[in-house]
């Protein structure tokens, strides 16, 4: 459904961030995007959702294709209209608006009021905790509730793909788990495809069914999550386990025997 080929992105005509990213998101797929900090994961998402040009960035090469049509340098509104919704890193929401207003803003593009109502009910039964704080100023919600609100807001817009940027950032493990279960549930029932950027690699790989690994603005490795989970390199560098699956002992911390060989 969503295809990316050799995507290249440059910020204010100097900083070359993406140097050729290619990936493929099937309908209703559950994809995770791994990579160390600064690998360009967030930039990829922004390039897809089109908010790049609000940040002086531009797509200089390759293309993003959604259901057969190019999205390069389209306005964010049109892309959102097409059904790609991004949730920014760090639980960004309209802090001075109430929960309900936030959700309604999420459904800004919905035509009728009835549609809005039904979507609202749906969101509320996915996240019952939001239902009983509809008129709170969203800035004062707890981290987990804010994350729910963010996902809920994205869900309001009848998305076909949701781009989640670090949903587990700074959340308690329990909260993370509940969020991820919610995500899975949504993916199953609403047939919404997810493109999930996550530092918590273990959790991410456990819920997704396919994964891409990025380094220095390139996709360097991909495969089904199960296979990635078993991949030695991924274990070494993202799951922090040695081949035996036990915690590493101090003795073999200097890992000259294994290096990221894709970075020659």
């Amino acid at each position: 459904m969503l295809t990316i080929q050799n995507l290249e992105v440059v910020y204010n005509n100097v900083i070359w961030v993406l140097k050729g990213v290619s990936m493929e998101v099937p309908v209703g797929g559950m994809i995770c995007l791994l990579g160390s900090n600064g690998a360009g994961k967030s930039t990829t998402l922004k390039a897809i959702s089109g908010v790049l040009n609000l940040q002086w960035g531009a797509i200089t090469g390759g293309f993003v294709e959604f259901e057969g049509e190019r999205l390069n340098n389209k306005s964010p509104q049109d892309i959102a209209q097409a059904g790609i919704i991004q949730c920014f890193e760090g639980r960004r929401l309209f802090k001075h608006l109430t929960t309900e207003e936030n959700l309604r803003m999420g459904g800004y593009l919905l035509s009728s009021n009835a549609a809005m109502r039904s979507r609202l009910d749906m969101v509320y039964n996915y996240f019952p905790r939001l239902a009983d704080m509809t008129h709170r100023i969203s800035g004062y919600l707890s981290g987990g509730e804010q994350q729910m609100l963010v996902i809920g807001r994205a869900l309001m817009a009848k998305p076909k793909i949701m781009l989640l940027d670090e949903p587990s950032l700074g959340l308690a493990p329990l909260m993370t788990k509940s969020i991820f279960t919610a995500i899975q549930k949504i993916n199953k029932e609403e047939k919404v495809a997810f493109l999930l950027v996550e530092q918590n690699t273990k959790a991410a790989l456990s819920i997704t069914d396919y994964g891409f690994v990025m380094e220095n603005g390139r996709t360097v490795m991909d495969g089904p999550s199960a296979k990635l989970r078993d991949n030695e390199d991924v274990k070494e560098f993202y799951l922090g386990l040695s081949q035996v699956g036990t915690k590493k002992s101090f003795k073999d911390t200097k890992f000259y025997k294994r290096r990221k060989r894709w970075l020659a």
Binding site: S49, V51, L54, Q55, S75, P76, Q77, A80, Q81, I85, Q86, F88, R92, L93, F94, K95, H96, L97, E101, R104, M105, G106, Y108, L109, R153, A157
Partner: protein, 295 residues
């Protein structure tokens, strides 16, 4: 005794108009984050257009007012398109200077087009008889000002609180990138804001001019009247602006009636003094939300 009651009544009537004028500025500030110092000039320009329509083209007052509001809405849109849009994302200081430029241009243009003579409106918007009771005297223009300004304020604040566009505007002022990503057309929102702001201050200008006359100084006077209102009410809240308008109006009137004779010119100064005190004690106004801006 009757004197002070009279002063308070007049003050409240004028205050409502101040509130409306301030609201025009708050609208723009709320969603585009621009402190439009040219708002007073918008008032004056609108007032002059209305005067032109009613005096020269012989429109009835209410029609003239509405038409001039429409015209100013368009002008506001154009100004936004020509001046503020290219400067989007610049630091607030730049945008402030741009509005100062606007102020200067409109000030000059008014003198070119309408000269410096005072213009007197032919009638009030709502025809009312003189109210005279127990020594008090409410002239129709004041009653007009009070009623219309009050209605406008309430309608506007309701529109912002309830309607979809209103919420969208608030959302945009909050976080443009996010707003864009949920599919709000930011440019459209800004266009809407500027036209609403301009129309609203036009109405204020017409009412203001109806008290006496419309002249080329109305812009400066309007700005000076609006500023304390803004500080009392804070740059973000509507009803705050209205209440603050009442306060300032009453203070103005009472000072004007009692002390203007012995301390000429003090009427213009007292609200400013109070404003400074408030600013030092409570930097974001009485009803304002804490929000850091850098210039």
């Amino acid at each position: 005794m009757t004197l002070i009651i009279q002063a308070i009544l007049d003050g409240i009537c004028i205050g409502a108009i101040y509130g409306l004028g301030a609201m025009g500025l708050v609208v723009i500030q709320k969603s585009s984050g621009v402190f439009n110092i040219a708002q007073g000039m918008f008032m004056m320009f609108g007032g002059f257009i209305a005067a032109n329509l009613t005096l020269n083209l012989g429109m009835p007052m209410w029609l003239g007012t509405i038409v001039s509001m429409g015209a100013m809405a368009v002008i506001g849109m154009i100004l936004n398109f020509l001046i503020m849009r290219p400067l989007a994302g610049e630091p607030p200081f730049t945008q402030l200077m741009a509005t100062i430029g606007m102020l200067s241009i409109m000030y000059g243009l008014v003198m070119v087009i309408w000269g410096t003579d005072p213009y007197i409106y032919p009638s009030e918007i709502i025809p009312i008889a003189d109210l005279k009771f127990l020594g008090l005297h409410l002239s129709p223009s004041y009653v007009n000002g009070f009623i219309i300004a009050l209605i406008a304020c309430l309608v506007l604040s309701e529109y912002y609180r309830r309607s979809k566009e209103g919420t969208a505007m608030r959302a945009t002022s909050e976080d443009e990138e996010l707003a864009a990503s949920v599919g709000i057309k930011v440019t459209k929102v800004l266009k809407l804001t500027w036209s609403i702001g301009a129309a609203c201050s036009t109405l204020a200008g017409v009412l203001f001019g109806m008290l006496g006359s419309v002249n080329y100084m109305l812009g400066e006077i309007g700005l000076m009247a609006i500023m304390p209102v803004l500080v009392f009410g804070g740059l973000e809240s509507f009803l705050g602006a209205l209440l603050a308008g009442f306060i300032v109006g009453v203070v103005n009137m009472i000072v004007g009636v009692y002390w203007e004779g012995s301390f000429p010119g003090i009427t213009a100064v007292v609200p400013l003094i109070i404003m400074l005190l408030i600013l030092i004690v409570k930097p974001y106004g009485l009803f304002g939300e804490e929000r850091i801006e850098r210039i």
